[in-house]
């Protein structure tokens, strides 16, 4: 399938036709170039450094000491926003970093990704400026604005030269408080999120990391939920609006301004800039049941063609506030966090030659997170390498780190801590990280001292309590045909899945429930509109109609006069005869699931008879459903999800608004004049474009009010029509819908 698509692509390529390109490979690709695994290399009997007196020795590390950080100010704005200011005038730069405590951990199951989606949309349009205007504003001064979400928070940051602080002060509150979530940008972000989900299929490392979280936490815990194409598609604009409204309140957020700032005037400027941000209640954080782990589970994720296997071994970790946190930093450094100073690197890479990288880490979160050891290796070494990981975890649990290792870990973590704070923005980011977990500035300055308090005993005890050599989960992502024999030989039981399977099961996506008050209000509006139009009985009795209209249509700036005759016979027969510019005749006819069209061909000279394809019927069905004379009757169908929307004033006239959902998923807004109770417009968004239909000049036809002046437009098209005659339930010759025998 893939090859066909590729060949088609090659054939379709524009420009001089290339020879069909052979699928490119790198010399040296594939298994034939995999060297035999190195024999177990014993340490050389001949140790070239043994007994040498002139080896270079390392200076002693300094004892752990508090680090110096720039002066900080902290205050709250009138709306409750917590602000920290870190002044550093070393370089004329400044960064604003705003954290909102809304992240993946707060998401509902049926809306995975809403935090990330909302974050990305913040920079894509406000009530004042569209995405391009926002981008131009920040690009012009050479600054950057970024919005991301993490497991625990959403972060909006703005970095500029200090002379452009005003740009951040203008843009950040605007993005924060008035995002407009435009449909066209929603589409782009959704595509990008979809792209990231798809990309995971090409990245065994990402697959492994996602699978291991799902395997460890299971289906009832937020950490076990992994997004997929369906979950990306499930997020609608209303979800983003709701998420933003609920979570983005000053009391749930904090702001750090770091760099070259004038502290005397900054507070006033912030008050002014962020004053528009209204207080609101902070929603409760969802709670999850503790998950237990006993025994071990192995999941083999089959990705045919992988020449490397990505391996994860995971257990539960600790909370950030756990008293064993600093002890864990130390034992984890020794185990796998300390790169070349770690046991995993030594055993798996340096001595074993099995990998380029082996490491371990544990999450630093408010709630208990995970502990993961990871590596990757050529397929033939998968089980052997996993055994090495397990052996080292077990050894750490049983023996803990030794004195030398602990000293080295403390020296690195404490001694190197200050290296992280070169840029003022680094200090700001670290402060946010601390504050999010209830720690303050002192946590940062005293961090090295806290590390220094760890000793062999406390590290050993912590490792023994936290690491469990018997209970863990393992994920291997690789080619099953290479891995299964190894697993079977080792006697390991495993569950096998395909890399294309969703990682956490797809979820029945419940619709956001309709507010019963809105449904009630909408029903009332619709009933009144039906009555005003002619009454339910009359409308339901309509079997068809014939309309003759004349007007004009404008496309690409060109206006063309048009005469139209349209015949509709319910439920599914329709024919339109149109004359454009008084000379071009077009006929379209639909009968059930068949249809044909008579229209000029590309040259404009010949009339061509064509079939209407199956793909076009989706659009035809939507048009049928939206028929202005009948749309009010759709409202009583529960699938239409009738609900009211805020009133609007159009051309000075107050209107009620109701929303209906068509079978194809598109929401249509219907605007009903409060006085006349007649529909004056309908609006819907298809993809990125908005279509608007307007109705006026209502006249009575057989007791039914029908709009005789109609206008519709969108996407650069505009059509205006005046109805000349309207017949309800006319006699129609069935032959009208039959496909003509010959081309005319």
């Amino acid at each position: 399938m893939r090859h066909i698509a590729l060949i088609l692509l090659v054939l379709a390529a524009c420009g001089p036709k290339p020879k069909p390109a052979p699928l490119a490979t790198l010399p040296g690709d594939g298994d034939q170039n995999v060297a035999k695994p190195p024999q177990d290399v014993k340490p050389t009997a001949n140790d070239p450094w043994a007994g040498k007196a002139d080896l270079i020795t390392s200076p002693a590390p300094k004892p752990p000491a508090a680090i110096e950080l720039p002066a900080m100010e902290s205050f709250k704005l009138a709306n409750g926003l917590q602000v920290f200011v870190i002044k550093s005038d070393r370089l004329p730069v400044v960064s604003m970093q705003l954290a909102i405590k809304a992240g993946r951990m707060h998401e509902p199951r049926a809306r995975l990704g809403v935090a990330e989606f909302t974050a990305e949309m913040l920079v894509k349009g406000t009530k004042r400026r569209d995405a391009v205007a926002l981008a131009k504003a920040i690009d012009f001064v050479g600054g950057t604005i970024a919005a991301d979400s993490t497991f625990e928070a959403t972060l909006l940051s703005c970095s500029v030269l200090s002379r452009n602080l005003g740009t951040c002060l203008e843009l950040v509150p605007e993005m924060l408080t008035q995002p407009s979530f435009p449909e066209s940008e929603l589409l782009k972000v959704r595509e990008q999120m979809l792209g990231r989900v798809r990309q995971r299929l090409d990245d065994a490392g990402q697959l492994a990391s996602a699978h291991v979280q799902n395997l460890l936490w299971g289906p009832e815990h937020v950490r076990g939920w992994i997004n997929n194409e369906q979950s990306v598609a499930a997020i609608k604009r209303e979800d983003l609006v709701a998420w933003h409204k609920n979570w983005f309140v000053p009391g749930n957020s904090m702001l750090v301004v770091a760099g070259d700032v004038d502290t005397k005037t900054l507070k006033t400027k912030l008050e002014t800039a962020f004053g528009v941000w209204k207080k609101g209640p902070v929603p409760p954080t969802p709670q999850y049941k503790e998950v237990g782990l006993s025994g071990s589970r192995i999941r083999l994720v089959d990705k045919p063609g992988q020449t490397q296997t990505h391996i994860r071994v995971a257990q539960f970790g600790i909370k950030h506030e756990d008293p064993r946190f600093f002890d864990s930093l130390v034992w984890n450094y020794v185990l796998g966090g300390g790169a070349f100073s770690s046991r995993l690197m030594k055993v798996v890479r340096v001595d074993g030659g099995k990998t380029y990288g082996a490491s371990s880490s544990f999450d630093r979160n408010l709630d208990k997170g995970s502990f993961v050891a990871q590596t990757f290796t050529r397929n033939s070494e998968a089980v052997a390498t996993t055994k090495l990981l397990l052996a080292e975890i077990s050894r750490m649990a049983k023996e803990g780190p030794n004195e030398t290792e602990v000293a080295s870990a403390i020296a690195n973590i404490a001694g190197g801590y200050g290296l992280r704070f070169q840029a003022a923005a680094d200090v700001g980011a670290a402060l946010i990280g601390a504050e999010l977990h209830g720690f303050g500035r002192e946590y940062l300055t005293n961090y090295p001292i806290a590390v220094g308090k760890v000793d062999v005993e406390s590290a050993k005890r912590a490792a023994a309590e936290i690491l469990d050599p018997r209970s863990y989960v393992i994920v291997m992502v690789g080619d099953a045909k290479d891995l299964e024999p190894q697993l079977q030989k080792a006697g390991w039981k495993y569950q096998k899945v395909s890399f294309t399977d969703p990682i956490s099961p797809p979820v029945e996506v419940p619709e956001t429930p309709i507010d019963p008050k809105q449904a009630e209000a909408a029903k009332k509006i619709v009933d009144e509109a039906i009555a005003a139009k002619g009454g339910k009985a009359k409308l339901a009795a309509i079997k068809g109609f014939k309309m003759v209209a004349s007007g004009s249509t404008t496309i690409g700036g060109q206006t063309v006069p048009v005469e139209i005759e349209r015949v509709l016979v319910l439920p599914d027969k329709m024919r339109i005869d149109a004359t454009l510019a008084a000379r071009v005749k077009v006929i379209v006819a639909v009968d059930g699931r068949k249809g044909w069209q008579l229209a000029p061909d590309q040259t404009g000279q010949k009339i061509q008879l064509t079939e209407i394809g199956a793909a076009d019927f989706a659009s035809i069905d939507f048009e049928r459903w939206r028929e202005p004379e009948l749309i009010l009757l759709r409202a009583s169908d529960p699938a239409a999800r009738l609900q009211s929307a805020p009133d609007e004033t159009i051309d000075g006239k107050p209107h009620s608004v109701v929303k209906l959902r068509a079978p194809n998923g598109i929401d249509v807004a219907v605007y009903i004049d409060k006085k006349s109770k007649l529909i004056t417009r309908m609006k819907y968004a298809e993809g990125a474009s908005e279509e608007l239909d307007q109705f006026s000049n209502f006249k009575d036809v057989n007791g039914i009010k029908i709009a005789h002046t109609r206008q519709s437009g969108g996407q650069g098209r505009e059509t205006k029509l005046e109805l000349k005659t309207v017949e309800i339930d006319p006699k129609i010759d069935a032959k009208l819908f039959e496909k003509p025998a010959t081309k005319e």
Binding site: G195, R349, A429
Partner: protein
Amino acid sequence: MRRLATLATLVAIATLAAAQPAPAPTKTPAPTKTPAPTAPAPAKAAGSKAISKLPTIEMFELSNGLKVAVLESAAAPVVAVQVWYRAGAKDEPRNRRGSAHMFEHMMFKGTKHVRAEAHAQYVNGIGGYVNAQTDEDATHYINTLPADYLDFAIKLEAERMRNLLFRPEMIATEREVVKEEIRQQENSPIAKGFLRFLEVAFTKHPYAWTAGGNIKDLDATASEDLKKFYEAYYQPNNALLVVVGKTTAAAVKASAEKYFGTIAKAPEPPRPAAQAQEPEQKAKRREVVEAGQIGLLLVGFHIPPAKHKDIYALQVASIILGAGESSRLKLRLKAIDPKTKKPTALDGGMEAVVREDPGMVIGLGAYLDPAQGDAIEGAIFDEVTKLGTKGPSPDELRKAKNQVQSGFVFSLENAQGLAQAIGRSWILTGDASAFMRDVDEIEKVSAAEVQRVVKKYMTPENATVVVIPPKGAPAPKGAPAPKPVPADKKPAPADKKPAPAPEKAPVKGGN
């Protein structure tokens, strides 16, 4: 993956952070990213009016030819100590691709006076960070550590410049490590596609391959090859010692002379790339390679080497075309296609990959819909043509210069990054402080200059196009079918609109 494969990712694939993968995800206290402002290749980001006084780089040279660059910066008690060797993948024999990078690994495997792995362990043990990186033009060794240990870091670097041991079992094991590093590329269609792109673009010059090389050549690389490379290139007259941070030029000079001073000067090393100049490309090249989950379309144009006077204007051109969300390519590629009602591409951009020998400016688009490939390719060429024909607007020109200025100022924040900028400047131009003047040079670039270089270099005849197509939507398997997407075309029959049938819409045809 937070960002789609951008050019930065691709270039990172090409230049391997070799000795050590990214530090283990210790989930640092900072959930935010330190912002990465848009800026051209670091060597060309430079001094600015945004700061009143540029930092100074003190330069001196030892009698054995070792150059030393020092930038005193008392911000944090940190010092970045790096040694840059003018030795990269372009110095490799064509049947030993990957050997420069493999050699880089050997630099950690023990010297006469330092046990295997001890260099890294020592530096870690005093609170420092160690790594190394090999690219096409250079290999550089990174030590970032508390400022107190400057002397020790210089001692370690001098030690391994000339005292490396070559032990067969070390080589055998490390070869396997390096192969695993490279093997990652085998499993990534985008990595493979980019590597193929370079092969198509460069028919003679070693830029056809990257520092990673390939597994077959690595298997063939023996101890003798590595020793030969070491003897030729790892010499004081082929290296630059860079120190940035809380120190003084005097202290650096003292340590440099003490430890490097005893090393003898060597003959100038061979430069095989000088005999392998890439001939002028006369016709467009195009290839379609294996598909990936995300498609990537690359359009590259050959540009002159870093020292050439046209490079500044080319950088401005590539910024205008592809740096920042309001750049021309990003706006064009991410705009909604009225036919499909979806964006043409997921993302796009352009970057000038400036090298010591002639490099490339590369435009790209990432996409999910296989049918959009032609549109993306067309859009890239079209935007290039437009810029060449009409030039940039005054606002765009000013914006690009502001971006460069801002990027330079931000680059001064971090000792390690700044040291790398200095090293890169030396590799590209022979002058370690050249990049400090670049903002002023960029400021001089006129709209006419931008037009001229676009017309001169970014032509179809000079273009290499490689398409990594996207695989397209996977067939649904068991999952509930996605909501039906409304038909992407047509005004459908209705009393208000003229006849449907989009492509053959009579009105369109008639008009």
